[in-house]
Amino acid sequence: MRLRHRFIGASAALGFLATVASANASSHREAPAISFDPAADNTDLWAWVPPDLSMLFLVAAYNPLEEPSGGPNFNKFSDDVLYQIHIARGDQSLEDAVTYDIRFTTSPIMRVDVTDKTAAPGGGKEFFSQLSGQTQTYSIVKREAGMAPVTIASGVPVAPSNIGPRTNVVAYKIAANGYDAFSQTFVKDMGAEGQVFAGPRDDGFYVDLARIFDLANFAGSITTPVTSAVDGVAGFNCHAIAMAIPTSKLTGTGKAPTAGPSDAQTLGVWASASRRKVSILRHDGTIDSDGPWVQVSRLGLPLINEAVIGLQDKDKYNRTTPATDVTNFGGYFLNPIIVRDYEVVAQTTVPDSLKFNRTDILDVINLKDIPTTGAHNFGLSVTGDVLRVDLGVASSFPNGRVVGHGANPNQDQADVTDIELSLLLTGKTSGISDGVNSNDKPFLTQIPFLASPWEGATQGHGKPAP
């Protein structure tokens, strides 16, 4: 169909037209089909009760692998996302007993004349967003089944990014090395409802990411000792919402939990992120912000979407709730693909009992015989991807998941990667390790528990360490 370069005349056009219908072209107008949305991406969830059973501590993390030196527009929570923490209770239902809706609001940047060089910083013409005077705050609405929603916090400031010593002095008006203490001041007391914190934190997960994405091809595999494992999330931050909620607010009775395991006092915790759908053709001029929310991400137990759900169903998983997990994804839990992958990749033979009908996995999720024989007996109808926390028992994964748990300057926690992979691949709760066994930064012993975020100026990737 091609015409010569020098084609001009109409006669040549005839030859052109004979085949012109097979036009092939690309104008690069194609809209993106694939995109990632870290601001609405759950990366992690911890929930646990300490030995005194007084509080439920919750940490929901978003925005995976956040680069500390990501200026000038640093990562933040999205104002257009609804962040939620869902808490189901008892053995009757996985529907929410209590829901916390967290919404963020960023103050608009003032519009000033950019040619006015005399205006003081804070007017919005700055290149450095931390000088713009722009702040982000959030509110929390608590919704309990059968009760009117209650706003338990509003206008709470989000901890700002850890940008560097000069920002600390100039913008935050604190000591050059004062960020850690400064960020602690963003813990908000909500009175009887507990405490809350929202802001950037060190990503508390530790895993040999490079190798886990290489089909769980761990340096250590099952038998070989680990020498070269790399913590793939070391040095990265996330954005976390941390809460400390008096357990009496969650038992449903208004009273403190009774010590000892029970299904009735066991919570099912999960976190989600939602975005608004909009009406595309607004012939009636409706306003977007009224559009209903659609869940785009969720997380209960760690690594379920990553290691259990197949590629074709990941969207569906993110869109649905734990209550329908057995119906939708039961097959994935009972016949985990990763076991068959492992068999191929590790060139080993895995017995069928580990490949098919893995009710043992469901038992672990449902805390059957955990922590003691006879404890817990959830039915299939209330099985789903939730983090079970028995309010009557001091937490220990898989009963709850604790941030900071051990010696080694408080860098250890239950190594969920190792536990889950061991469970999936061997049927036991230990034996396989990714070789990364502690976090890169000490956890805190108080809310927000996750360590202070890495500093952009000196600790970004590709920058010299301090």
Binding site: P32, S35, R276
Partner: protein, 452 residues
């Protein structure tokens, strides 16, 4: 020596001769054998079947060292470890799509398509692989095939957001705007994210809802904050900036293009947009420099057109001719609609322009194809047909000065001077520098009533 023994020996001599003869017979083959290479090098696979070529393409080594190249390398390794797992081939194909977009080289869709073909050979109903095929068809501008495939995927899996996106895109190109909006609505209802928001934004814009388009674009930008994969957000920013440009807000548009360029350095669509803004402001040199850069990495006909306009504006007629030659060259090879519109706009090769536009209508029927067709008809003096075509193009009330000007000029030519002048005035008020040639004609028309 006994005679018998002699005979045996003679026979032996004959056998030697026979050996020679045999060697002679083999002579020809032997010649070929003698050409064996004294070579050492990468082992040659002797297999050149389509299936093997698909694997070769899918596993092509990436040529750079960006994040997407690292991703491709790791995906290729994963596939190598477990080549019978369709999911992994699909992930590899998705990485190739990403590579195609980030490098502005649509040729990498060939690799994506090949990866999808391998996945489908393993699992013929893998929705992710079928989605990749749909993308590849769209990229090839095989809109009817893309629509048909996407429709089948959606019939089977009504919640496949990617297929709904492909379906919407294909329907839009085929001129079926309402159905395209329906598909995009289903997509956004399932998964409000950057891909669905940008489609919402564009559909709103072409249906005349500028505020809504900007709002949806903001949501798109907000939902694409992945610093490791910035191209989709840059694309959304460029789309938003284009809306500002169409509204004549060149400063707003430029801020957007600059933002996109900060996210993806040298991003060709942003360079083109920025060049267009410079052209609108009459800064020929800046425009030519920007468009030159854009054309270098992404040789699109539209970019060559603008580059030619920029050079011509700067007085470089030889350079302009060179750019227009590239446009005609590229247009013939892969972009008939742009070439048709170019010829019609410059009022040259009217017949060929019309022939091209007519042929393009076999492939797609969206409003810009109608516009190119209308303007080519107009240049050929077929005013009634031109009027019908431009009415179709404007039936969704798209706020695009070029369409308004074409509609106005066609009206004036058919005798509806008042109606026509109103449209031309509207066009110039909206975006006074929408196109060097068109805007010039429009101003002359308003000044002295001269119909182009």
């Amino acid at each position: 020596m006994t005679p018998r023994k002699n005979n045996v020996r003679a026979a032996a001599a004959v056998i030697v001769s026979a050996g020679l003869a045999l060697a002679a017979a083999c002579g020809r083959g032997g010649q070929a054998a003698a050409t064996k290479a004294p070579a050492t090098g990468p082992a040659a696979s002797t297999d050149q079947t389509p299936a093997s070529l698909d694997r070769r393409l899918a596993l092509q080594r990436p040529d750079g060292n960006t994040a997407v190249d690292a991703l491709l390398t790791s995906d290729e390794r994963a596939v190598g470890l477990e080549p019978t797992k369709a999911d992994l081939w699909v992930l590899l194909g998705q990485a190739w799509v990403r590579k195609a977009r980030e490098s502005a080289d649509p040729g990498f869709y060939v690799n994506a398509r090949a990866a999808a073909d391998v996945a489908l050979a393993i699992d013929p109903e893998h929705s992710g692989a079928l989605d990749l095929q749909g993308l590849s068809l769209l990229n090839d501008h095989r809109f009817e095939s893309a629509r048909s495939l996407a429709q089948q995927i959606v019939d089977r899996r009504p919640d496949d957001a990617a297929a709904l996106g492909t379906l919407s895109d294909a329907l839009l190109e085929l001129g079926r705007v309402d159905e395209a909006a329906d598909s995009a609505q289903r997509m956004i209802d399932l998964k409000p994210n950057l891909p669905s928001y940008v489609r919402a934004s564009y559909l709103r814009w072409i249906t005349g809802d500028v505020d809504g388009a900007v709002r949806a674009a903001r949501l798109a930008i907000d939902s694409g904050s992945d610093g490791r994969y910035p191209e989709p957000r840059a694309w959304a920013v460029v789309q938003a900036a284009a809306i500002f440009a169409h509204e004549g807000d060149y400063a707003g548009a430029e801020a957007g293009y600059d933002r996109a360029l900060r996210q993806v350095p040298d991003y060709p669509p942003a360079l083109v947009g920025k060049g267009r803004v410079a052209l609108a402001r009459g800064d020929a040199r800046a425009a030519a420099a920007l468009l030159d850069r854009a054309y270098d990495s992404s040789p699109l006909a539209e970019t060559a057109w603008l580059l030619g306009d920029a050079r011509a504006m700067g007085g470089d007629d030889v350079g302009a001719r060179r750019a227009y030659d590239r446009l005609e060259h590229t247009g013939r090879a892969s972009d008939h609609r742009t070439l048709a519109l170019f010829w019609a706009t410059k009022n040259v090769h009217a017949q060929e322009a019309l022939a091209l536009a007519e042929a393009e209508r076999d492939v797609r029927g969206d409003l810009y194809t109608d516009d190119a067709y209308a303007w080519a008809l107009y240049r050929n003096g077929r005013l009634a047909d031109a009027g019908k075509a431009i009415d179709r193009a404007l039936s969704h009330h798209t706020r695009d000065a070029r369409l308004l000007y074409h509609a106005g000029a066609i009206r004036c030519a058919t005798g509806d001077t008042a109606g026509g002048r109103a449209l031309v005035r509207q066009a110039l008020a909206l975006d006074p520098a929408f196109d060097v040639t068109g805007a010039g004609e429009a101003r002359r028309l308003m000044a002295d009533g001269s119909i182009p």
